[in-house]
């Protein structure tokens, strides 16, 4: 027997990063060594020449949502503000493998967002049209077109929630999350960034309204600027300087099957029946479940959410019946009231905020890393993250992406 193609992944390089002791001070301290934090440090060093940077991670690097997400990458969001930053990100994804010199396995296999009701169809067509005018590839496909792109989708009109069509973004796809994180980390390290693990931030020190240092489990570290990239833990950190955030941290579960021969060539998402699934590079089915309703930092969710997910998945993909659930896990997603992120300055001088990505964080990694680094370097938002201020909740200028984001990644 020969081994099936693609059943194993490219080797990681022989060297990734050092594990230095923290220095007593840095120009910029990034709190949170997830994808966003590491990418931010990378772009600070690479684009802005700011290399005296530390990324502080309380656990292991990229071990939070970066290690737990379902790796879907797309930019077909409804509103101009969102499509701006997500499309910026997608463009960076398209050059990222070369930029980082790391096989991140970015695979533009396309994503289908299914419509199951007449209103879904209207909303989908609306989004496709908006995407196209924003220069984002998007198509509306009918059920026969869905079947052609992904033959295993049940497009029979006789099911409970028939597929009435789908939006399709051909440039969307998946990447391998660890490879992405490690690619950024290795590159950031090579540019002089200190990656410091097992270092929990326990306090933020300010003098006259300006950030001066972070207190950590490994001592005080002085900082010219501090950038928060802590996803679900953002509220806890922001509270250290008396800043309240309009976000709630929820468990979000995901799961994989065992390795299977290729059967699913694209990415399929359905908000109406709460399914999103792709078949990853090695052949495992990767699926996300719905968000657990309650606030939680426990990195665990309730199993009935998984059971509902399975039932919905089998309605759409009857061939999955005898696939096996191999592993389930949960991340902590930071959900904002309008399902859009908060990226920018704060009332505290030198303290920058990046949170509220909810289910959209992974795909935004290069885009927000680049824009957040710009924001930090210039003390001024990048045009792509300018709409995503904290102030919008006061003025009412929300960017309501519930339709495009919802539970789906």
């Amino acid at each position: 027997m020969t081994s099936p193609p693609g059943a194993h992944l490219p080797e990681h390089p022989d060297f990734l990063w050092d594990n230095p002791e923290p220095k007593s001070s840095y120009d910029v301290v990034v709190v949170g060594g997830g994808g966003h934090g590491i990418a931010t440090a990378y772009y600070l060093a690479k684009v802005h020449g700011i290399t005296n940077v530390a990324v502080l991670e309380k656990g292991w690097l990229a071990g939070g949502n970066m290690a737990r997400n379902t790796t879907i990458i797309r930019s077909n969001y409804l509103w101009d503000e969102s499509s701006g930053i997500y499309e910026h990100s997608l463009k960076l994804w398209e050059g990222l493998e070369d930029d980082l010199g790391y096989p991140i396995l970015f695979d533009q296999r396309g994503v289908l967002n299914l419509a199951h009701s007449l209103q879904d169809v209207r909303d989908s067509v609306r989004r496709v049209n908006a995407n196209r005018l924003n220069g984002i590839d998007a198509e509306w496909v009918d059920p026969a077109g869905v079947k052609e792109i992904c033959p295993i989708v049940n497009t029979s009109p006789d099911v409970r929630h028939p597929v009435l069509g789908a939006t399709y973004q051909p440039r969307a796809g998946i990447a391998k999350h660890d490879y992405v994180a490690w690619g950024y980390a290795r590159a950031a390290h090579a540019l002089g960034v200190d990656l410091i693990q097992n270092c929990e931030v326990t306090g933020l020190e300010t003098v006259q309204g300006r950030i001066t240092a972070v207190e950590t489990s490994r001592g005080r570290i002085a900082a010219g600027k501090v950038a928060l990239c802590a996803a679900g833990h953002s509220s806890v950190l922001a509270k250290m300087v008396g800043l309240r955030l309009p976000i709630a941290s929820h468990p979000l579960q995901a799961l994989v099957s065992e390795l299977l021969e290729p059967v699913h060539p694209t990415v399929v998402m359905s908000n109406a029946v709460h399914v999103y699934v792709s078949q990853a590079h090695k052949g495992e089915l990767v699926m996300g479940a719905g968000i657990d309703s309650y606030n939680g930092y426990g990195q665990r969710g309730s199993f009935h959410i998984i059971e509902q997910q399975m039932a919905a998945a089998l309605e759409l993909f009857p061939v999955f019946a005898r696939a096996h659930l191999l592993r389930t896990w949960a991340g902590i997603v930071d959900v904002s009231p309008d399902a859009s992120p908060i990226v920018g300055l704060t009332p505290v001088g030198g303290l920058y905020l990046n949170c509220g990505w909810g289910t959209g964080g992974f795909k935004a990694t290069p885009g927000v890393g680049d824009c957040f680094a710009h924001t930090i370097a210039h003390d001024k938002p990048h045009p792509f993250n300018e709409p995503f201020t904290l102030e919008r909740f006061t003025t009412g200028a929300l960017v309501d992406e519930h339709g495009a984001a919802a539970v789906a990644h």
Partner: protein, 938 residues
Amino acid sequence: MSFRTDTGGAIDRNTLLRFTFNGVEHTGHPGDTLASALLANGVHEIGSSVKLGRPRGVVAAGSEDPTSLVQVEAPFSEPMLLATTVELYDGLVARGLAGQGKLSSEPDPARYDAKHEHCDVLVVGAGPAGLVAALTAARSGARVVLVDEQNQAGGALLGVDEYLDDRPSAEWVADIVAELKSTPDVLVLERTTAFGMYQDGFVLALQKRTDHLGFAAPASVARQRVWRIRTRQTVLATGAHERPVVFADNDRPGIMLASSARTFLHHYGVLPGSRAVVFTTNDSAYCAAIDLAESGVDIAVVVDARPEAPARLAAECAARGIEVRAGQLVTGTEGPGRVTAVQVGDDRIACDALLVSGGWNPVVSLFSQARGTLRYDAELGAFVPGRELATVRVAGSATGELDLTACTRQGRDAGAGAAAAAGFTSGSQVPLPASDSRCTARSGLVLWRVPGNDDASFVDLQRDSTVADVLRATGAGLRSLEHIKRYTTIGTAHDQGKTSGMIAAGIVAEALGVELSEQRPTTFRPPFTSVSFAALAGRDRGDLHDPVRVTSIHPWHVQHGALFENVGQWKRPWYYPQPGEDLHAAVLRECRATRESVGMMDGSTLGKIDVQGRDAGEFLDMLYTNMMSNLKVGKIRYGVMCGVDGMVIDDGTVIRVGEERYIVTTTTGNAAKVLDWMEEWLQTEWPHLDVHCTSVTEHWATIPLVGPKSRAVLAAVAPSLDVSNEAFEFMTWHDTEVAGVPARVCRISFSGELAYEINVTAWHGLAVWEALMAAGERYGITPYGTETMHVLRAEKGYPIIGQETDATVTPQDLGMSWAVSKKKPDFIGKRSFARAENNRSDRKQLVGLLPVDPAVLLPEGSQIVETDRLPEPPVRMLGHVTSSYPSAALGRTFALALVRSGHERIGETLYVPVEDSLVPVTVTESVLYDKEGARRDG
């Protein structure tokens, strides 16, 4: 050549089962697994490895096996099963896998279900500790559930030929099982794996009910069942898995865990080969060597890594002519596929089996899932449960205890403790058995690997991950086991690292020079063993996936050829095509008939909430943007509801049926949400208000009767009702009889036409509908569906919540400032209207659009731009088309749209990109038909 022993094993030798593996026919017996039957036939090569394509065999006898992956092909294809857990049946067809399975494209005919079970004490594992725990708890009177993954109780005892209290251990097991099964409120579940442990004593277990029956499985019995067990106390008696030792070329078929070889011998009557080498770090493998020797296997040598062999066991070996070499190591193997020789020091020893024991790993997965902490036991070389949890006890070898009597004592203590914690006093004590076992596994040497060719020293046999990979990972700067797991992929295969995880941790600790006691093992995640998607979906599929709601008039719609639209869970008639009609033709006909004569629809799905109480008016004043408390009894008012953010969430009519009673209607899709919304405010913010709400949606059948002839039709079926315009004004209601049935008739209109909404109890809905059809026949009464309803309302500029709104639209945006009270001091959402963003003049506002070419139909969802030529993206968009229809009444197409500064743009020409062209449209006000409202009174 057969490797079946002449006697022994829990198999039925009188019955022959035929099966096919990799295209070759073989036979086995009931009681066999696919793995034991293959080994009995001398077949050791099962599949091949995922990355390197090296042959893979059977390493372990149970669910911890890392290698024996097969695809079962018949009776139904299922991927990635372990040959060691597939029970043999006649006609089984299977093939070995190269690490990837294949999904069948055929629909799975099997049924699956789930069952809830509540108990006081759940015992996981029916080995000696679990059996004693369960019996102890059962004798206290507790409700006990005992689950075990194998097809019979016994656990580790199934793999040995030991005597307990001077009789075969099987008899001891059988007695306990018999007593358990005869005790009331005790449930013993075989073939049932507890795979997930969650909070509050919630344990999920998968029972394989008919898999072992193969083709004989009755179709009426669910193939697999998920048990959702809620227990007060849990005893985990999950046992221990034998740990291999890593050395060069340790991955060949024929290399097996020593205890597994012993299990194949005693439980299945199967020999692992003709000539075996045993390699061990502890005493337990001596028993395998002795038992196999006594069964006719030539034990070439026992290689004991310890400096000195245990004297008594060495003597027993000597008595049987088995050579024991202490202080030596297996450093390599040979073979074209299956092992043919083993390197021990300078000696090459020919053999066809190599049996390995590196000690034991307690099975702590469920304990860890339950948030129990683990501690490293240096003597054992494994993580063991740390502090006990309040509701979870661990007993037997799962604790690291490997002496049988001590294990059963732990079982008894745990069973008694669990029962006591659940409120039961202990019953008669279960006696602990005395074992004649010659071998204990303690006092072993902890040995992760034998130095050698790192590239061929496999840590994870399924993932082809080697010692070299681990060292490369640590060399790359990785320190966390989680990182190293990801770098090497160790522990990510189907077995989730059951045999490889501990060794990987050990090798990492050695490489980094750190103590394992300072390392945290990688997280154990559910499920313990894999579970099919179908089993988890259970019965929630097909018709049972999501309930379908239908109205009492539904059969009539079906009979008359309606096509249906899903609205929430409801099936609503979409339109009623006549022969040859498409959607547009049918809808044009339905619209025309309604506006020119009379039509009717089934509006029963509208949400209806009965709001009662002294403060009902005050309450509704807070919920709706307009005033409801000053509505007179007998009158009806349209109302809009907003969220606290000021965005429209629902609309409907409010009718006042009494001084302290209103009936409010909601949109079909929002009925439950609005009731929830009301109750939330009432209970959490305004509990002082005397208001009660209840849903009456299903109680009523609701039939809008619409069009100039509606009055005549109503008069015909409601003789006691004065239907004149003076006696029955617009936005009023009357209780009367319609078709002889008590009815509430409301004069409201969602079409601009003279219209009545007839409400009767749901029981009478169909009869009244049919009576109206009969009475309207002379006027050509026409039933219509949601599409026509949408067109008629759109011609009047009435929005549909969820179609014209998307949670970013205010009443003002919809042109409904008239429905927003200026008088009320407050209502939900009012304060948000004062925010800067709400007062921008360039908000998107609801307007009508008329394509300049009256034949062009704009696609709904189209975007709107300002210029007649598209600039390069990103293009500035002004809004989008929310609704678009051909109109019989207007004799042309039209659309509704949300457009930036729409109210100011009336009269402007804008453009709608449709495919490759730009369609010019004129902006109009949203009311396009009967702007004066002349048709309302008929």
